[in-house]
């Protein structure tokens, strides 16, 4: 009998400097910058952090001397890099930790220098808030692309959702109806995407781009023609109520971010869990992944490839549309033209960075949200670091991810390929 698995005796030795070790080297360099350079230039002043959401003098706080802080966190970054080089394992964990330590060191440097004060709970709350639309968008992308349909239309789905939430929420006079309408709005975009992509085999990236332009044009037009004319009856859905979970929301630093938010916050967290379980533990998920990897194989065991793709594209539209309500009912209480401002593309980036996995997409969204929150913070404490620098981060990170520098970012094998029988 032939052997059961390919033996790996023919596998090439990778050489000492694997990708993981190279990343470790970069971590060590970053750590050195923090521990040596930053420590040298930072003033010998304390950097003060508040645990709560405000910088009121009464709140709990701690401070750390600038020089001590940059040195400690620089050394921690070096330690992460060293572990990577020594063990050649746990790439994600140590790179994540190392980057986090480096960011903390840089933060201490800036705070000590400007004498600013940082409310940590507020930083995490803003991170969560900025991440919300990215989470919905990125998971919508995952659900769609896992079935083999490329979803570049996330931006359009978010925008249509935001528009529908404001318009129908106001007209019907119910925010809950607005949320339902938002989901339907996203699904409408999906319907066109699915129809053109699956039925007419049009290039999916092209459709996505066109749909984004269409959504921008249509919502902009109605905004100018209808909503602006009569804001009261067409464009004042109001802010969604904030629900606070007693007790849990008191947890320092992360409490307010996770347990003091609108329905969207809770829905986003639930969505991550639900999408993960659904994709990897259910019959639907197995079939979805099969259809996205090898549609002919799915077809030959009697799975309706096109039907399943329709379903998934529609679900993605519902999810992204629902998330779109964030723009007109969470951060603002009305719709304006192009209110999404390209965040749909960052969500797309988060999906790729998160390797088409719901949890990965979530973490990537949080990472991008954090860099956005950080850039607001730097502006607030009047740091000389240009905030545009941080705004660039999601794009740079995605280029790295796509170029294969950060782990292997592999799309489902049949992603973007129309399925034709025979």
């Amino acid at each position: 009998m032939t052997s059961m698995t390919v033996d790996n005796s023919l596998a090439l030795p990778e050489g000492y400097w694997t990708r993981t070790r190279k990343a470790g080297l970069i971590m060590v360099l970053l750590g050195l910058i923090a521990a040596v350079y930053l420590t040298a230039i930072v003033p010998n002043e304390p950097a003060r952090f508040f645990l709560g959401e405000t910088t009121a003098a009464s709140g709990a706080s701690f401070s750390i001397n600038g020089k001590v802080g940059t040195l400690i966190f620089g050394l921690l970054t070096i330690a992460c890099g060293a572990l990577l080089i020594l063990t050649n394992k746990r790439f994600g964990l140590y790179v994540g930790l190392g980057l986090a330590f480096f960011v903390v060191a840089a933060l201490i440097w800036q705070i000590a220098e400007t004498g600013g004060q940082v409310p940590l709970s507020s930083l995490s709350k803003i991170t969560m808030e900025k991440s919300l639309p990215l989470i919905f968008g990125a998971i919508a992308g995952v659900l769609c692309e896992r079935s083999g349909v490329v979803n570049v239309a996330i931006e359009g789905q978010l925008l249509t959702g935001a528009f529908f939430a404001a318009l129908f929420g106001t007209m019907v006079g119910s925010q809950w109806f607005g949320l339902v309408a938002a989901a339907i709005g996203g699904a409408l975009i999906s319907l066109i995407l699915a129809w053109l992509a699956i039925r007419f085999l049009v290039d999916q990236v092209v459709i996505g781009v066109v749909l984004n332009a269409l959504a921008l044009g249509l919502t902009g037009f109605f905004y100018e023609q209808v909503m602006r004319e009569d804001t009261k009856s067409f464009n004042s859905p109001g802010l969604l109520p904030v629900w606070t979970v007693p007790g849990l929301s008191e947890i320092p630093i992360i409490g307010p971010a996770l347990f003091k938010g609108t329905i969207l916050t809770y829905a986003a967290l639930l969505l991550v869990v639900a999408a993960t379980v659904a994709l990897f533990r259910t019959r639907w998920g197995l079939r979805t992944r099969a259809v996205g990897e090898h549609p002919a194989a799915a077809d030959t065991v009697g799975i309706k490839v096109l039907g399943l793709r329709y379903v998934n594209v529609m679900i993605a539209g519902l999810v992204a549309g629902f998330g779109g309500a964030y723009f007109s009912m969470v951060t603002a209480s009305s719709f304006t033209k192009n209110i999404t401002g390209g965040l749909g593309f960052i969500a797309l980036a988060a999906m790729i960075f998160g390797r088409w996995h719901p949890v990965g997409a979530f973490l990537a969204a949080i990472f991008f949200g954090f860099s956005s929150a950080l850039s607001s913070l730097l502006q607030a404490i009047q740091s000389p670091i240009p905030s545009d620098f941080l705004a660039m981060l999601p794009y740079v990170a995605t280029i790295f991810a796509v170029a294969g520098l950060v782990g292997r970012s592999r799309a489902p094998a049949a992603d973007g390929k129309p399925y034709v029988k025979g």
């Binding site: 059961m4 990897e293 090898h294 009697g302 799975i303 309706k304 094998a413």
Partner: protein, 516 residues
């Protein structure tokens, strides 16, 4: 749910299949022309036919992947409608496709359960799926690890997964579409044994192949298809020559007429070549070989033993890790493909539709893909259509390329004529070395003979020729020396009159010396 089915598998034959007047057209091409055949319960029915005869099309119709233009399918005397694979499975028909239908990133159990997942309220029951794999593989003697990932498994085992997948669906008739094409002779024998076992367990089997030896070894009845039509049926006792004649419509000359070679100086020299495949495994693991002017060196071996990577490395299509390639004494290691071609190398790639032709381009344009920027066909800035077309007319005649006009998109030609276009183009430069990978894969017999004769002619004018083929017959017919490749190494270089058995063993990695 699946378990209950499993327990009830009947041990006596149950399914009688009848196809009546099946016709299937693709545009003008009649792939199946009024085909009728009957598969009796518990028999191995061989469907014999050349590449392109329409065997896969017929089975795809039976399996519901294609809808016939006319004709009916009867199971146990009742006409049934098969709209999709789901219907076929429900009717007790399973199929193992020529190109495996397995999701490479899934486990064995996931692939086996796909489409009929044991689940509770939509949640998968992985344990039940694994148990099912174990039970069925034990029952039929096809051991499998349910948790192995498909892409890590060798081809032979992947095929086993396909068979088990069909068996878990409790089918009574199993279609095997060219199952032996990817197997070593030894794996093939093993598979034939499995087929006999399944027949004894009451299954009917439709066994598709174009290899006569296998048909004779295992079939109970043989139906021969040629150009979409049933041209006859035969008993397995019929002599091979008779079957071959039925299959191709005339007696076949497997032997290519040629003189003994008079090899000159070494033209291609490969030494110590190591090449990685896409998965970063050593596909070529230290190959040394030499092809001399005026001889054909044939490389035999089961697909996937490094032949592809070896040729690609010689052609500069794939980097080599160590080792060198020289052409008439000049070191060409690491040269760009264009430079290699212009140094006097002709190259027929193994996959003509992907690497050999631009299907949307015209026949004439495809004939000058290599020389479009060279006088008289063009210069740095512009093409010269008149020269291109005139040259094309000459080539079409010389190489017997059957087409309506040289402006026709090359993709609309038949496989054999497409292949002749490539051969014509690659032989139109002055050559020192001619490399042909799978030169006649999916090509009709007429074209095979033509291409073989051209290859020998190229040798006779003094070029060195390297032929890589997974068809042992082809290598034996063409080569002056045969190098057998196994797991990235050349196991042995033997003369073409070496007994087939020895060659088969070599292809399976067994060297006679090592045994005795």
């Amino acid at each position: 749910m699946l378990f209950q089915h499993e327990v009830h598998i009947a041990l006596e034959a149950t399914l009688r299949l009848e196809l009546r007047g099946i016709t299937k057209r693709f545009g003008d091409l009649v792939a199946n022309d009024d085909i009728s055949l009957t598969v009796e319960p518990g028999e191995i029915h061989a469907l014999l036919g050349e590449n392109g005869a329409g065997k896969s099309t017929l089975m795809n119709v039976l399996y519901g992947l294609l809808q016939p233009d006319s004709g009916e399918i009867l199971v146990d005397g009742k006409a049934i409608k098969i709209k999709g694979p789901g219907d076929a499975i429900a009717a007790g028909i399973g199929m193992v496709h020529q190109h495996f239908m397995l999701v490479p990133v899934f486990t064995v159990a996931e692939n086996v359960m796909l489409g009929a997942e044991p689940a509770k309220a939509g949640f998968l029951n992985h344990a039940a799926a694994s148990d099912l794999v174990r039970t069925v593989s034990l029952k039929y003697g096809l051991p499998l690890d349910p948790d192995a990932i498909i892409e890590d498994l060798p081809i032979g085992i992947q095929q086993r997964v396909e068979i088990v997948k069909a068996l878990t669906r409790n089918v009574d008739l199993l279609i095997l579409d060219e199952p032996t094409a990817v197997l070593t002779p030894q794996e093939t024998d093993e598979l034939l044994g499995v087929m006999r076992g399944l027949r004894d367990a009451g299954k009917s089997i439709v066994f598709i192949t174009h290899k006569l030896r296998e048909v004779k070894a295992v079939a109970d009845r043989i139906t021969v298809i040629r150009r979409g039509k049933v041209v006859g049926s035969a008993e397995p006792t019929a002599p091979e020559s008779e079957l071959a004649e039925l299959m191709v419509g005339r007696s076949v000359v497997l032997e290519v007429p040629k003189q003994t070679s008079e090899p000159g100086a070494a033209v291609l020299k490969v030494s110590g070549l190591v090449v990685a495949d896409d998965r970063r495994h050593r596909a070529v693991d230290g190959v040394d070989l030499e092809v001399r002017a005026g001889e054909v060196l044939g490389i035999a071996g089961v697909q996937g033993n490094g032949q592809t990577e070896l040729v690609e490395a010689i052609m500069g299509l794939r980097p080599s890790l160590t080792g060198s390639v020289t052409l008439s004494g000049q070191d060409i290691t690491g040269w760009a493909t264009r430079r290699v071609l212009r140094a006097g190398v002709g190259y027929v790639p193994e996959d003509r539709s992907v690497d050999g032709l631009v299907k949307e381009f015209s026949l004439a344009e495809n004939l000058v893909l290599d020389l479009y920027d060279t006088e008289p066909f063009g210069n740095r800035f512009a093409l010269n259509p008149r020269a291109i077309n005139e040259a094309a007319q000459g080539r079409v005649e010389e190489f017997d390329i059957r087409s309506q006009s040289e402006q026709q998109p090359v993709g609309s030609l038949s496989g054999g004529n497409q292949q002749k276009v490539i051969v014509a183009r690659e032989m139109s430069r002055p050559l020192k070395l001619f490399i042909a990978s799978q030169p006649t894969r999916g090509v009709d017999v007429g074209s095979i003979e033509f291409i073989h004769r051209r290859i020998v002619a190229e040798r006779d004018v003094g070029s060195a020729v390297l032929v890589v083929s997974s068809e042992l017959d082809e290598v034996v017919a063409l080569a002056d020396r045969i190098a057998v490749m196994y797991r990235g190494r050349i196991l042995a270089v033997v003369p073409p009159n070496t007994p087939r058995e020895t060659l088969g063993l070599l292809m399976a990695g067994i060297t006679p010396e090592a045994d005795s």
